[in-house]
Amino acid sequence: MTLRVLLRLVKRLVPVFLTILFIVWLYTYYGAWDYTIKNIPEFFKLVYEHFVLVIISMFCAALVGVSLGTMMTRKSMEKVSSAIMAVVNVWQSVPSLGVIAMAYGFLPLIGLSGIGMVPALIALFLQAVAPIVRNTYAGIDSVSKDVIEAATGMGMTRKQILFQIELPNAMPVIAGGVRTATAIIVGTAPLAFLIGGGGLGFWIFTGIALVDTGIMVAGAVPVALIAMLFDYCLSVSEKFLVSRGVRTNEVKMA
């Protein structure tokens, strides 16, 4: 029994370990250590900026996405929600670089700066909010009508039904949306540098521009590690947020 558990743990940990080993090797091979240590204050600043970009845009996207997705499932919103859904669907097919570029081009038109961290955050947010809205809507919509009727007939209020029944039952699907959103954000965050948004993209693009693989890897490797960190955090929090009674093996993707 314990041997089986151990074996399963090993099976899961070995690929992670090998990946990290590979990354560290890459890092060492191209001399990224040296560059990083020489520029350690800048490294911390970039990592900090990167975290700010990812966490803030993620947080806002989750908050707005779940709220909007939930609102769209309310009876009174029926007509509006199909329109919002259409926008969301189109929006999700726009590539990340396109959204960054559009933020740069569009924000000045409404009197905001197109350069800096705020436009970068807005672009990331817009990218991430779509799958969350979509999955929240789909998740709540897919909660069995019988379950809702039972809850209503037993005397639960609208609010109780939303928080105790609808959201918990939609949680696996919502979590899937959040995962997709995180993947998008983590993948797009390095591009924020292009419009002056800061973050580790700075080193990546500098490395590319100077044809210096060492600098590029010094930026790319932390980006990869941060992505893995976020994915891990998400899978842990899902364990807490998703009830065992509604957990599915396949994670639904938007």
């Binding site: 379950v147 009727e149 809850a151 037993m154 005397g155 009830s243 065992r244």
Partner: protein, 369 residues
């Protein structure tokens, strides 16, 4: 035993449905502790009628009175919390454990934790699911029948005086359904709720109901006890609906106790054969029922089957299966009579003490009323 639930000319017209009355001036009174089975063909308005009681469907006209109070004056949420509700498709909350599902209403009613835990325990016992084994499982880990029982337990958790059940056993296979019906009747013995029980199955309506409310096209056709509906169907529609075998169905409504004769020809197994022969000549019976000192059934003696060298009754007794308890239904009784050659059946109590005997004529008498 006052009137608990009263429907007074209750009518429902769905908007935009061509002004057809889904329920048309339905009136009936239900006494405390009674089960009323609402039955009729599909689309006759059963569900609509039931859901107006907990205001899931708004009434078009008429009045519904619960315990003397017009429900339109009550707060909807409070009204619903005081009515147990079991829907056809069970509708357990998948995200909650069995224990949490059952505890939902008590929690809404703000009971304290100790009282809630006790209630969950007690209800799981009532529906025959071991509390320690099932409390922390999730609905998707239970069979359909088990889920349905939890659905019933959940509806009873807030101690509601009234329960509404919409085809609660509709989705369950016949064998399990019969089992659940019996269990539910046993539970009802203990809890004595006032229940509106919707079903499309007339046999279920007869079995479960103290009263049957038979609907057709939204209108009440007959409201009466199962016995009355079977004996005196109000019109051809009812007669048709209850089926050509309605007399046989009535057999289910009576226990053997009601029909049996309590003067069977009993003889102690230690008596001599001569005594037995004496009894045979005095009465015109071909069989005697042999008992021991406690009056417990030991077998049957056939007048034409007494061995030559028998001296005691004991030597002539043939053991028999032709007996049933007095609580069995007349249907089982009739079936048992036909299974054996005696033309009658020995009626016994729980410890097989002889109480009487039953002939087909007795059954006929009882059915005649």
């Amino acid at each position: 035993m006052g009137i608990m639930l009263s429907l007074q000319k209750v009518t429902k017209i769905y908007p935009g449905a061509g002004h057809i009355k889904a329920v048309d001036e339905l009136s009936f009174d239900l006494e405390e502790g009674e089960i009323c089975t609402v039955v009729g063909p599909s689309g006759c308005g059963k569900t609509t009628a039931m859901k107006m009681i907990n205001r899931l469907i708004l009434i078009t006209s008429g009045k519904i009175i619960i315990n003397g109070r017009d429900i339109s004056r009550l707060d909807t949420i409070e009204l619903r919390r005081s009515i147990g509700y079991v829907i056809q498709n069970i509708g357990l909350f998948p995200n909650m454990t069995i224990g949490e599902n059952i505890a939902i209403i008590p929690k809404l009613l703000k009971w304290n934790k100790a009282k809630i835990d006790e209630k969950v325990q007690q209800l799981l016992e009532i529906v025959n699911l071991a509390p320690d084994e099932y409390r922390d499982r999730y609905p998707n880990e239970l069979s359909g029948g088990q889920q349905q029982r939890i659905g019933v337990a959940r509806a009873m958790a807030g101690d509601p005086p009234i329960m509404l059940m919409d085809e609660p056993f509709g989705a369950i296979d016949p064998i399990n359904r019969e089992h659940l019906q019996n269990e539910f009747l046993k539970i009802q013995e203990k809890v004595k709720k006032t229940i509106v029980f919707v079903t499309h199955d007339i046999d279920e309506a007869i079995k479960m109901g103290d009263k049957i409310c038979l609907l057709k096209d939204g209108r009440l056709v007959q409201f009466a006890s199962p016995e009355e509906v079977l004996t005196y169907p109000k019109n051809d529609f009812v007669a048709d609906f209850v089926g050509g075998d309605r007399t046989l169905k009535r057999l289910n409504l009576f226990t053997i106790k009601r029909a049996m004769k309590d003067n069977p020809p009993v003889i102690h197994q230690d008596e001599t054969i001569d005594t037995a022969c004496n009894m045979f000549s005095k009465t015109d019976t071909r069989y005697l029922i042999a008992v021991d000192g406690e009056g417990t059934l030991t077998g049957i003696i056939d007048k034409h089957g007494i061995p030559d060298k028998a001296t005691r009754v004991k030597d002539a007794v043939a053991p028999t299966n032709a007996w049933l308890t007095a609580q069995s239904s007349l249907k089982d009784g009739l079936s048992e009579i036909f299974t054996h050659d005696y033309g009658f059946l020995v009626v016994v109590d729980d410890v097989k003490k002889v109480l009487g005997w039953l002939h087909t004529e007795d059954i006929k008498e009882t059915l005649k009323g």
